[in-house]
Symmetry: C2
Subunit: 341 residues, 2 copies
């Protein structure tokens, strides 16, 4: 029988530091599904689609608008902002290392990157296209995309929503940030972390953060932790609940309608977390120090001292990795016409 979240939490809260941290470096390659192998041509096409604002109704919002690959893979905003300045209720998660998530979206409503990629395009408050068919109709009017889709996918009509999503997902699988100071440290370079960061690393483990933020991406995948989702706040009743409106969003309950999933959210990766303020599903917390304090209190029932929070923050800054160099693509044109008006 799988232990309940409350059981696991209770075990963790009272047996620390019995749970030994299993420090793992980030792989430099992400596995691809059998039906969508990662190829250079597909990645190049996916990068263009990811950066192309013509995938939105107004021609102003691309995937990159909320998941900026030139920055931390998000938008540094509390909640994402789509066409016409519309906002939803949740903060854009980083696209960097999203290949290592076992599930996508804060509430896990997509199982794969391929499935995820089709969502925001037709979300009213994001890219706002009426339908995936409308997106496909646009893409088929772009001669350069016709050529590239044909080259990558073949077939009589290679431009489909599924192939668009496959190309975007293939690109996203290359968005990996290895060789952070943390990675170099666990591979043996003992000078890669400062003394404060090493203290923070120990406190991160001792406090129990690793119970959820385990594995190479610190997101509960391939680790010894509780898995993909966690109720937040797990220890309700602190002043933070009201201050940061933590108990408002039903989270994964909206997907499963199971009471156990009420206020449950995907455990987000902590890779590059220093670059993705503000924090949490609702982007309510502005600084990393405060996010660490809130997590300790609401998930582990611990009041962290300021020194502890700063040490752990310093450690988390050491999870900022190396971002692969990328060329800026040319988006293929529609010579002599436009379809945005």
């Amino acid at each position: 029988m799988k232990p309940s979240r409350l059981f696991v939490f209770t075990m963790l809260a009272f047996t620390q530091p019995a749970l030994a941290a299993d420090w793992q470096a980030l792989p430099s390659v992400a596995p691809a599904p059998k039906d969508n192998p990662t190829t250079a041509a597909k990645v190049a096409l996916g990068q263009k689609l990811f950066l192309d604002p013509r995938l939105s109704a107004t021609g102003t919002v691309s995937c990159n608008s909320c998941h900026n690959v030139m920055a931390g893979g998000d938008d540094n905003r509390p909640v994402a902002m789509g066409i016409h300045g519309k906002t939803g209720g949740r903060s854009a998660p980083t696209v960097w290392n999203s290949a290592f998530n076992a599930t996508q979206f804060w509430d896990g409503r997509a199982a794969t990157l391929e499935e995820q990629a089709k969502g925001p395009v037709v979300a009213d408050v994001e890219m706002g296209m009426n339908s995936l068919d409308d997106v496909v109709t646009r893409l088929r009017q772009i001669p350069g995309y016709q050529d590239e889709f044909r080259q990558v996918f073949g077939g009589k009509e290679p431009i489909t929503a599924d192939n668009m999503a496959k190309a975007i997902a293939a690109y996203e699988r290359t968005l990996i940030t290895p060789n952070s100071p943390y990675d170099r440290f666990v591979k043996g370079d003992k000078k890669a972390l400062t003394a404060q960061q090493q203290r923070g690393m120990q406190k991160f483990a001792d406090a129990g953060c690793v119970a959820c933020h385990s594995g190479p991406a610190f997101n509960g995948q391939n680790g010894a932790g509780t898995g993909t989702f966690m109720v937040f706040p797990a220890v309700p009743g602190s002043a933070y609940d009201a201050k940061y409106k933590l108990a408002v969003d039903p989270g994964r309950y909206n997907v499963t309608k199971q009471d156990a999933d009420r206020h449950a959210f995907k455990v987000p990766t902590l890779r590059n977390v220093a670059l993705t303020a503000p924090y949490f599903h609702n982007g309510s917390v502005h600084s990393l120090d405060e996010a660490v304090r809130v997590m300790a209190k609401t998930q582990l029932g611990t009041d962290l001292g300021d020194g502890d929070a700063k040490d752990i923050s310093a450690f988390l800054e050491a999870l900022t990795g190396e971002f692969p160099a990328q060329n800026m693509p040319r988006l293929p044109g529609t010579p002599g016409k436009t379809f945005v008006y």
Copy 2:
């Protein structure tokens, strides 16, 4: 005495093709003002600023949002769309080859790229910052920008609005698209243009388009034409005036309050014009063929046949140049915090 626009127009309309076209290739380097020499480090900084959405109030709109350097240097929209989906009355001009404009904005209200760069940042319907001081305050909170501005500009407080504009302008001066089929043709490669494009080139001259669209950038600069501005429609009364709302915007009159400048607009470059639909200051015309017909009628009093319009369009497509390869920059972060909320 400088001839009036009407005089010049009349001369052109009745003396064609007496005005010999002076075909010039596009230079591969743009001259820089004495107080803002183009350096590699400044260009690299300017590219980051150009692509950085944190220059807007919402953190969602960068210079690149409306002047997409991955595309034709504009947004392929009728009118530009800024924060909260706000729109102004004019279409975003291309940033490509803007270094060769003698004046900036459709109404010429900025004399230089440096002056232009400061406008949209604080325009309510564009990037919406309250003041340039607020922009500077943000930039000073970004450690990576502190380092780069110091390296590029030196001085005790290198992050200023003027230096921001200088860096952006320096980057823009590198956005040049040489070696179009047209350029190769005028340099002697007689196979660079198709037969149709060569017919279109001759018709472009014979019809009198070169009166305004002269010089290497086809924008009246360094050419034999009428200069920087032209009244549009110059021959009012055609059906196009109402159909495309051509006589609504007072144009340069808003800047000078001179009656002669009523409905006068900057003569835009035709470089890469095939990539910048929809057309004209108000983005009212969706296709290049139609834009050619409208121009012939409203500026030259000529009803072009469909074949002529298509030939001229084909020639204009030959003005699409080679876009220099660019690296995608990393935007410097604000570790552990954000200032957009």
